[in-house]
């Protein structure tokens, strides 16, 4: 049973809440048909509670191909755990494109900022843009930190990090955050040349100070590192808790090596999946919620293909002018049948790429949230 005092207090809370809700409703009426935050955006874009944004506070060049962005996140940000990544939405030529980048700074900075280190990938639209155009004051959209490529609460007595290229980024975040609590750390890092090593100077000085044992591999001269070689470089390989991040092939090799040794549970991998979607002609169209699939040719619109397969589709003008048929594409690639424009959606885009199904044809497999 609730005590009278508690009832009074609850009553008080309820009244306060009702008053606050009422006041908020009046504020919403002041700004209707948009929400108060839309007006706030005009003055303070980082204060918007519904759209998480960050301001670039500093830009540091790491190598010829890599740049570190120091970001001040806006309201409702949650601190990351070392090793996690964030999704950044960057407006490239007016179009918002999303990419995932590992956080490279130590966790729990007092100023609330964090850094990501962007490595320019070949033909990478966003990484190339950030390398060239990222400036102090620029606003980017972001998402909360995610990913389970993290260290356990109690640090392992012996740790091994195997990285290649930009795979060092999440590991750098881990080292910067938790190195004091780690006893025995080996970092095996591959890059094409010594100057391509991102954070090279910092890693080498950590090695000189005896904090880590650093094994650098320069693939330009020595070729790719094989798991067998790794075994000779690190004799107590399977005694160590291992975190690996880098290209898919490397991770595949490592995974089978650890599995063969029966030590698969000691290897933690982070895969960057650079989704390379190549436009073809037609493909399987999947409507995830109903489970309907349709084989569509390059000349059939998604709308027609879906309807023919019995999927209930929103539709309107059927000629690309009314935007009533748009559906979110989770992953896939489509071609505009009018002008041939290619639109892609990758996992990193979430379910945010809206496709006009009446003028889009599959240019590869496509998955729709419908």
């Amino acid at each position: 049973m609730t005590s009278p005092a508690r009832t009074r207090r609850l009553g008080h809370v309820a009244v306060t809440r009702t008053l606050r809700d009422g006041a908020w409703r009046v504020v919403e009426l002041i700004t209707t048909p948009v929400v108060p935050a839309d007006y706030l955006d005009v003055i303070a874009p980082l204060r918007n509670p519904t759209v998480l944004r960050a301001r670039i506070e500093a830009v540091r060049r790491e190598t010829a191909n890599a740049v570190t962005l120091e970001l001040r996140p806006g309201r409702n940000w949650q601190p990351h755990q070392p090793g996690q990544y964030v999704r950044l939405g960057v407006d490239v030529d007016g179009v918002r494109l999303w990419r995932a980048y590992s956080v490279s700074s130590a966790a729990g900075r007092k100023d609330g900022r964090f850094t990501v280190t962007v490595n320019a990938v070949k033909d990478g639209v966003v990484s190339g843009y950030l390398l060239k155009h990222a400036r102090r004051g620029m606003i980017v959209t972001l998402d909360l930190p995610a990913g389970d490529f993290v260290l356990p609460a109690s640090p392992p007595p012996k740790a091994l990090f195997v990285t290649a290229g930009s795979g060092i980024t999440p590991v750098m975040g881990m080292l910067r955050s938790t190195l004091p609590s780690l006893q025995d750390v080996i970092v095996v890092h591959s890059a094409r040349t010594p100057s391509d090593v991102v954070f090279g100077a910092e890693l080498r000085s950590l090695a000189e100070a005896g904090r880590i044992r650093l094994i650098e591999r320069h693939t330009g001269a020595d070729g790719r590192l094989k798991p067998d070689e790794l075994a000779s470089l690190v004799p107590d390989l399977f005694e160590r808790e291992t975190w690996a991040c880098g290209p898919g092939e490397m991770l595949d090799d490592l995974t089978s090596h650890w599995t063969d040794a029966g030590a698969a549970d000691r290897l933690h991998v982070e895969r960057f999946r650079p989704t390379v979607l190549v436009a073809g002609d037609g493909g399987t169209v999947t409507f995830e919620r109903t489970g309907t699939t349709a084989e569509a040719t390059g000349g059939t619109t998604i709308l027609d293909a879906g309807e023919a397969a019995g999927q209930l589709m929103p539709s309107g003008c059927r000629m690309g002018i009314c935007y009533k048929c748009v559906l979110p594409m989770r992953e896939g690639i489509v071609r505009d049948v009018r002008d041939g424009t290619i639109t892609t959606a990758t996992e990193v885009d979430g379910d945010k790429v809206l496709i006009q199904t009446c003028i889009s044809a599959a240019a590869g497999p496509c998955r729709f949230d419908a």
């Binding site: 002041i30 759209v51 003008c317 935007y323």
Partner: protein
């Protein structure tokens, strides 16, 4: 304006089907040129417009807290009128057309945008984007021809009630946003029978409009006037402050309604604009669809400011050809479109606002009376198109 197939002189008699498809290809090429450069400039433009509009609105609303003070009332009312016009025309209309969907910004997207109008965005997109833009000027399919309340074509049957249409048109102009909401609901048709009145889809739309209007009215005529009351107390006249701001909101809405009604009347009503028989769009090709948009729309000539304040609907012809290209690009492509009209000897209807408005009003008056000459019989020299009615080819 008469339906195309009954005209004494058919304006497209000189075009072969190949010509018409060639026109389509040339227009597609113009579209491709814009798509090739569409990007950051357009994103910046619409963001800047939104920022300007919100600043003007915030400033005007702040001024109207002091509505007892006449200069503040005048400036605030003028600012609010401008902000409402910008919000409806250059921002709302164009975003709801999907012109900025390419940005993939969920805040500036046709699926999420809601505008300062009695008409909920969803319903307007259906009646405007889908029906009006697809069936432009097709008698009996495009209800924008007279909005279901007026006779705007000689071919429409005259009844004595049409005598009042100059008055209806004026009332519609004053309360335009509510007229549009009623139009989106197809009130005339849906209220006719009991069965239609109780149709759940209609009732749901009706409720949505009711909700939207309630919020809009509360905002302009209750909440904002009430915000002026505290200042009114300080100046010794709280009621006056309330009424002053109330009046300012009413005037700004009236100005916006009269302005948008005038601009929109200029789009399809002036002299020289063609209308089409219901049967003429059966099996229409992409080229024929383009041609219908060319003949069915009219432009307003004027300054850059004029184009912005009309939401670039002054480039109605370009807008109807490419409703989903960013409106601020229409001025760039207008010379190319016009050259195409000349090349194919078609009538590019354009004129200053005053002339076009007068021309549209003249028609409203003229057609309030029965025709002087009986209607022509159908011109059978234009062969009927494919018998099966198909959606326009993409």
């Amino acid at each position: 304006m008469t339906t195309l197939q009954r005209k004494e002189v058919n304006p497209i008699a000189h075009l072969t089907p190949e010509d018409i498809e060639q026109i389509g290809r040339e227009l597609d090429a113009i579209r491709d040129e814009v798509l090739a450069v569409r990007g950051e400039k357009d994103a910046k433009y619409i963001r800047r417009m939104i920022t300007i509009q919100r600043r003007v609105e915030l400033g005007s609303r702040a001024l109207l807290l002091f509505s007892l003070f006449p200069p503040a009332w005048i400036l605030g009312t003028a600012g609010l009128s401008i902000s409402k016009i910008l919000e409806n025309m250059e921002i709302g209309h164009n975003i709801l057309h999907g012109q900025y969907d390419f940005m993939r910004d969920p805040k500036i997207h046709s699926t999420t945008w809601e505008w300062d109008s009695a008409s909920p965005a969803e319903q307007w997109k259906h009646s405007h984007n889908e029906l009006h833009h697809k069936y432009t000027n097709v008698v009996g399919r495009d209800n924008d021809l007279g909005y279901g309340i007026m006779r705007v074509d000689e071919q429409q049957k005259w009844v004595p009630a049409h005598l009042g249409q100059p008055l209806y048109n004026f009332i519609n102009a004053c309360f335009f946003e509510y007229g549009i909401a009623a139009y989106d609901l197809e009130l005339g048709r849906n209220l006719k029978t009991k069965k239609r009145r109780s149709n759940p889809a209609f009732r749901a739309n009706l409720r949505a409009v009711g909700r939207k209007i309630r919020r809009q009215v509360l905002k302009d005529y209750v909440v904002h006037p009430a915000l002026a009351i505290p200042v009114g107390f300080l100046m010794g006249n709280p009621l006056g402050a309330f009424l002053g701001t109330f009046a300012a909101n009413a005037v700004a809405s009236l100005v916006r309604n009269l302005w948008s009604h005038s601009v929109i009347m200029c789009g399809h009503f002036p002299k020289g604009v063609e209308t089409f028989e219901r049967t003429s769009i059966t099996g229409e090709t992409r080229g024929e669809w383009y041609l219908r948009q060319m003949l069915g729309s009219a432009n307003i000539s004027g300054s850059k400011l004029m184009h912005v304040m009309t939401g670039n609907l002054s480039h109605q012809i370009e807008h109807h050809l490419f409703p989903d290209l960013p409106a601020s690009r229409y001025a760039e492509i207008a010379p190319k479109v016009r050259a195409l009209f000349e090349k194919y000897e078609l009538n590019y209807v354009s004129g200053p606002l005053v002339v076009q408005v007068a021309s549209a009003w003249a028609k409203v008056f003229r057609l309030a009376l029965p025709n002087r000459k009986p209607a022509k019989a159908i011109d059978h020299s234009i062969p009927p198109r494919h018998p099966a009615e198909q959606p326009a080819a993409v």
